[in-house]
Symmetry: C2
């Protein structure tokens, strides 16, 4: 029962911005599942900034993708044939999937495989129930220790994580949520469609001056998805005992392992008795059920919206990944590969 399939492999390591030129689309034949393996037909692929890190050589929380090896990411696949007794033909599984039409997968690794209910639209697995909302949920609440009345600043506020952070901040009683995004269109979107009370356009505004104006008493929680000049401006405008949640560094780290610019204003952490803290979502895996219950309730109550950029066609996978870093995509980026049976 071998299946003809397209397959994206890594051609070269991107020195900076990742793009289609770093991948190659090959034709392959996917054979019978071995012991414990499952043959799936890919339905959807999810795109996350953390995937950029897997393309670099050097230390990371997982091994880098090898040159010539299939690129992968979170995805949904429908079981064609299963040698894993936990899953049956027709089941829709959520887990790490290679960028292929058909693939052999196995439970274990970065994320355990799990069945997805068809009660909700399938893409919700990556948008409201996905890694990005989970990251927002634990990052803002556990690392950021958000409290009622806090002024919350968010960089990358038009992204999937950022827009969820804004909504959860309002749900948790933040007095003001300020989002940073690039360009007037995104800034309008994060206030109009998103949950932000105010926007800073990092491409056109004087970030520091605008932040001072919007948060004259300082920022209690800064949820940082980007690093760079926004991080420096935030550090210089913290409230006492502020929490800076380091969730990512698009502006510095992900596009180059050199990480050339550190936050030169980090000594403000002393003046404000403040802290800067990083985290990995995997630390909180045992608490996902509670998160899913909370988030499900908030979606039903209309407090958490579904934000998706839905692209189509496996051939567009590298472009979809690139779109995370060029500012093209709003909300969660998902690629539809095929419909379920």
């Amino acid at each position: 029962m071998s299946k003809e399939s397209r397959q994206w492999v890594l051609k070269s390591r991107p020195p900076g911005l990742v793009g289609p030129e770093h991948f190659e689309l090959k034709q392959t034949s996917v054979g019978e599942p071995g012991e414990g393996e499952i043959l799936v037909r890919t339905l959807y692929l999810s795109f996350d900034p953390t995937q950029r890190g897997w393309l670099n050589e050097g230390p990371g929380y997982t091994d880098p993708v090898a040159i010539g090896a299939p690129m992968f990411g979170a995805g949904l696949g429908q079981v064609v044939k299963s040698n894993d007794p936990k899953f049956q033909e027709g089941d829709i599984l959520n887990g790490m999937m290679p960028w292929q039409d058909y693939a052999l997968i196995k439970d274990g690794g970065l994320m355990p495989l799990h069945k997805v209910s068809r009660e909700h639209p399938l893409t919700w697995a990556f948008s409201v129930f996905g890694i990005t909302t989970m990251t927002a949920y634990f990052g803002l609440q556990e690392v950021g220790q958000v409290k009622e009345g806090d002024v919350v600043l968010i960089s990358g506020a038009a992204g999937a994580t950022g827009s969820a952070v804004a909504e959860i901040a309002k749900i948790r009683g933040a007095s003001k949520v300020i989002g940073v995004a690039g360009g007037p269109e995104k800034c309008t979107w994060i206030v109009g469609e998103g949950a932000c009370d105010a926007a800073i356009d990092y491409k056109n505004d004087d970030i520091a001056a605008r932040l001072k104006e919007l948060a004259p008493d300082g920022v209690n929680v800064f949820y940082d998805n980007t690093g760079g000049p926004v991080l420096d401006a935030a550090l210089a405008n913290l409230a006492d005992r502020a929490r800076v949640v380091i969730c990512g560094g698009i502006a510095t780290g992900y596009s180059s392992w050199e990480m050339p610019e550190g936050p030169k204003n980090y000594l403000f952490l002393i003046l404000k008795s403040a802290r800067m803290e990083g985290f990995l979502l995997f630390n909180y895996m045992d608490r996902f059920p509670q998160a899913i219950a909370d988030i499900g309730k908030w979606v039903q109550q209309g407090k958490l919206k579904v934000h998706e950029t839905l692209l189509e066609g496996l051939e567009n996978a590298p472009a979809a990944l690139q779109g995370l870093f060029t500012g093209k995509n709003k909300g969660k980026t998902i690629l539809k590969v095929a419909d379920p049976d």
Copy 2:
């Protein structure tokens, strides 16, 4: 009863390294104490890196010293005449003192005035019972959350705060204490006289390679007094859930308000779910009695040594301050101005 006195005033703001050229020694006449004031004869002056920050314009936890105004710092003075009912002639007081032979002081401000017992050598008020040991005590335990078995790294390990951090780390059961200092002499001192188990010479060693060798499983607590290349090396070699205590930034911040170099490796905070946190000692003022009790006990048990660089003569005050930043002074820097009656 007016007293002739020498007086150091600030002449200009140092753009980088502070030195005698930024101060001027004047002759002044100190008059009768007014309502609530106390006339003291200065006995000892203490020198702390934080004083450098008071010379900069710009935001800080206290107003900058004005040009032409007397420079000051922690000091001991003996009461000549008191209009404050809490203190009597002959009492020795610990508090903020201008750099003068005689001065009018008043309770309140940055540190409350308090009487010093003559049971111990007077200089102990600044060494083992002083701000630096207190900073080490709260920074390592409250911010650094040091635990038994931790690997502790300390920059500026030959300084007053750094050497106390090393001792308290051993008292609290750290499995290994690694000190960073400049030059072979200091490195020998922090291991021989001080409580460090190993030393890194930042002037001669490959900091990152040596750290990796000494702490192959990463650092649990990094107590950072300097910033700069040591901070970057430490960030790249953290253990999971590590705590980076930001106590100072001699290598970057204090010598220039521009703070040109931030820690470019800060994204390792994500990979290690680690945090970087600053603090001000003033936050813990209500817990000083407990700290003094602990520290007193440790000194008696011989677990905490007294480390002092004792200079003499008010005319040497600016040079004593400069010595903090040029690497000349070991342990706590104290200047003797006069003997008590």
